[in-house]
Amino acid sequence: MLNIFQSLEISHYIYLSCVLFCIGLFGVLFRRNAIILLMCIELMLNAVNLLFAAFSEYMGDKDANGQMFVFFIMVVAAAEAAVGLAILVMVYRNTRKTDVSFLDSLKD
């Protein structure tokens, strides 16, 4: 049977994953809205997930350990998003802002 995954070179997955990761990374670095920040982090995590799945398939991973790992990451990402959003809600309640560049009281 024609494996749809086999019809594409692994390099395509790697390029896609890199692009996604860089979008996420630059989003984290240069956006200021905390919600977008969280979304960008999810993007980076998912870029990694994609890479895990692709390598698992192409490298002949019989037990599909790489794909199993993706689920773990998803769980952790969900937990992280929950905690992050909770913090964000508290920050918003206190400052009426979601702009992280104002959260610089650590410097003093």
């Binding site: 990374l25 670095l29 200021r32 560049s101 959260l103 610089d104 650590l106 410097k107």
Partner: protein, 633 residues
């Protein structure tokens, strides 16, 4: 042997008891304790004096070694004392006059809150002065020398709450330090030359002619610098008039009768040394003469009763040094003794006046006191007559002896000494008549309040007056008959082996010279009496003083000169160092270090700006760097 320990120990015990417990003791106990310890020393010294009169070897004295003070290789100094004919004479003067002045102070200081401190200091002074004259080596002398300097400082600044008095005390201390340095150098030279500081070893070695002339001159000059400081000779005399800031008994005891004569004692003690250094002798002679004349001239225009006496003291000390310079050591010691009597009397008399006038010291504010203070008046008159050389009083004989020695030595010195002695008469009678005769001139205190002093003050005055009258008996001139005359010369002769016996001049010459002095004395009394009693003149106000008088009233501007030559350049230099080196260089260095640190940390601080994206950027960059490094190298 133990008598020396007692003579020294009693004043020391008085000092310790009064100093430690005096605050809690009643004033009467403090005062009488101080007085009796010194009086007891005097009585013991009298006993020793009697023993010494019958001693088999007249040049020998008592020795008392307390312990070995220093013993380092060949440097061996004992803590030991010697009591010979010279030091017993000094001891009698110190303890005798000292106990009278202690008695006087009981009344004079009775209202002072530092009463116990005053007596502790006085006793400590007596102890140090005794150590100075009783020490058996130069180091002991040096201890005493420094000790009396300390006591002098403490007592001049006794009323330290007055800033001026504190300044006077510091001035005295610093001026004395200059002299002390000279003394110390002299001691170093002596030790370098003889490997010892004991009188009994050093003095014979000096006399035996084995030492080079240059060395002898160097040692004697150094010692004389020390004597200059203590005995207030040019150029180190300016502290003594300022020392009058202290309480009057202090002026009488320390700055007239005893401490300031330490220089004379030093020279007499080292008679062998000074006798063999003609250059130093000449320096002593001319310095003494210049001091005597200059101080006498300044004394003419002073209006503070104690300042007049202070300059008179400087002038009389100058005369003593003239005698030393002429080689007339006995005459100097004789004048030292009589001067101690009448100058202590005059100072205590002035203290009595000041006490009665409620601490007014300006003679222009006095006048006509003789009716109110008969005892003070009569004793002060005796003191004045004694110092000015009224025939047959103590000063007459002692001063004549100096003048005769000067006549024998050098006619110019004689003439200048006679001028100085005559000026003594002018300023003393001026002060005497202005204070006690004429009309009362003070408008702040009514004349009725002026009162005679209590017996503790008048008794010492009377005793000292008797001594001032009879002091001449110590050393009557030879023309009065051989049985009664020259007692002191005979007494001191064994101690002064080198001093030449005076070339006997004919009695006719002596009578002529004495007659001249008496004539001058009579003229001086007539002149001053005419001016200040008959015409009732009062010294003019400072602003009205004519220009020559102004120079005298301002003490020849010597203080100003010293200020300009020494103090101002030093201040300039130190302010320069302060402004340039201290604040710019050292301060700049230290401030630079902190500024540099601040700048570096300022750079670092910018990284820590609290902005989370900024941190993240750095994190990512660093990660990329590490990964890239892994990848390509």
């Amino acid at each position: 042997m133990n008598s020396i320990g007692l003579i020294l120990g009693l004043p020391l015990a008085g000092f310790l008891i009064n100093g430690i417990f005096g605050k809690n003791l009643p004033k009467s106990i403090v005062g009488w304790l101080g007085t009796f310890t010194v009086l007891a020393s005097f009585v013991i010294a009298l006993g020793v004096f009697n023993d010494l009169r019958h001693a088999a070897i007249p040049s020998e004295g008592l020795h008392f070694k307390l312990f070995t003070f220093l013993n380092i290789e060949n440097f061996n100094v004992d803590f030991s004392f010697t009591l010979d004919r010279l030091s017993v004479m000094m001891t009698l003067i110190i303890t005798g006059i000292g106990s009278l002045i202690h008695l006087y102070s009981i009344a004079y200081m009775h209202e002072d809150e530092g009463f116990y401190k005053f007596f502790a200091y006085l006793n400590f002074f007596i102890f140090n002065m005794l150590m100075l004259v009783l020490g058996a080596n130069f180091l002991m002398l040096f201890f005493g020398w420094e000790g009396v300097g300390l006591c002098s400082y403490l007592l001049i600044g006794f009323w330290y709450k007055n800033a001026e008095y504190g300044k006077a005390a510091r001035k005295a201390f610093i001026m004395n330090r200059i002299g002390d340095l000279g003394l110390l150098m002299g001691l170093f030279l002596i030790f370098h030359q003889y490997q010892s500081l004991d009188y009994s070893i050093v003095l014979p070695k000096m006399a035996d002619g084995s030492t080079s002339q240059a060395m002898l001159t160097a040692i004697s000059m150094c010692l004389f610098v020390g004597a200059m400081g203590k005995s207030a000779q040019i150029p180190l005399y300016t502290w003594l008039p300022d020392a009058m800031a202290g309480p009057t008994p202090v002026s009488a005891l320390i700055h007239a009768a005893t401490m300031v004569t330490a220089g004379v004692y030093l020279v007499v003690r080292c008679e062998a040394l000074f006798y063999l250094s003609p250059i130093t002798n000449n320096v002593i002679l001319w310095v003494g003469l210049a001091t005597s004349l200059m101080a006498a001239l300044i004394g003419l225009k002073q209006n503070d009763i104690k300042k007049v006496l202070a300059y008179s003291t400087v002038s009389q000390l100058g005369l003593m040094f003239v005698a030393l310079g002429c080689g007339a050591y006995t005459a100097a010691m004789f004048h030292l003794a009589t001067h101690a009597f009448f100058k202590a009397l005059l100072f205590l008399g002035s203290g009595s006046v000041i006490h009665a006038m409620h601490h007014e010291q300006d003679i222009r504010q006095m006048g006509g006191l003789k009716s109110k203070m008969p005892i003070t008046y009569i004793t002060f008159l005796i003191g004045t007559l004694a110092i000015t050389g009224f025939p047959f009083l103590s000063g007459f004989f002692s001063k004549d002896e100096i003048l005769l020695a000067a006549f024998d030595h050098n006619k110019i010195v004689y003439v200048l000494s006679v001028i100085s002695a005559t000026i003594t008469g002018l300023y003393m009678f001026r002060m005497f008549f202005v204070t006690f005769h004429g009309t009362y001139r003070n408008h702040h205190h009514s004349f009725d309040k002026v009162h005679e002093s209590p017996w503790q003050m008048s008794l010492p005055l009377m005793i000292l007056a008797v001594l001032s009258v009879l002091g001449g008996l110590l050393n009557l001139p030879s023309y009065l008959g051989h049985n009664v005359s020259m007692k002191l010369s005979h007494w001191l002769a064994p101690i002064l082996p080198m001093a030449e016996s005076h070339a006997e001049m004919s009695h006719n010459t002596e009578f002529m010279l004495v007659g001249l002095v008496v004539l001058l004395f009579v003229l001086v009394v007539l002149y001053t009496r005419n001016k200040y009693v008959s015409k009732n003149a009062v010294p003019e106000e400072d602003a009205l003083t004519p220009s020559t008088g102004k120079v005298l009233a301002n003490k020849f501007y010597v203080d100003e000169l010293y200020d300009m030559v020494f103090v101002k350049p030093l201040e300039l230099l130190s302010s320069l160092v302060d402004n340039m080196i201290d604040s710019k260089l050292i301060g700049g260095l230290i401030a630079g270090v902190s500024t540099l640190l601040l700048a570096i940390s300022g750079l670092n601080k910018k990284i820590q700006n609290g902005n989370i994206e900024y941190y993240l950027t750095f994190m990512v960059l660093a990660l990329a760097l590490f990964l890239g490094f892994n990848l390509f190298f």
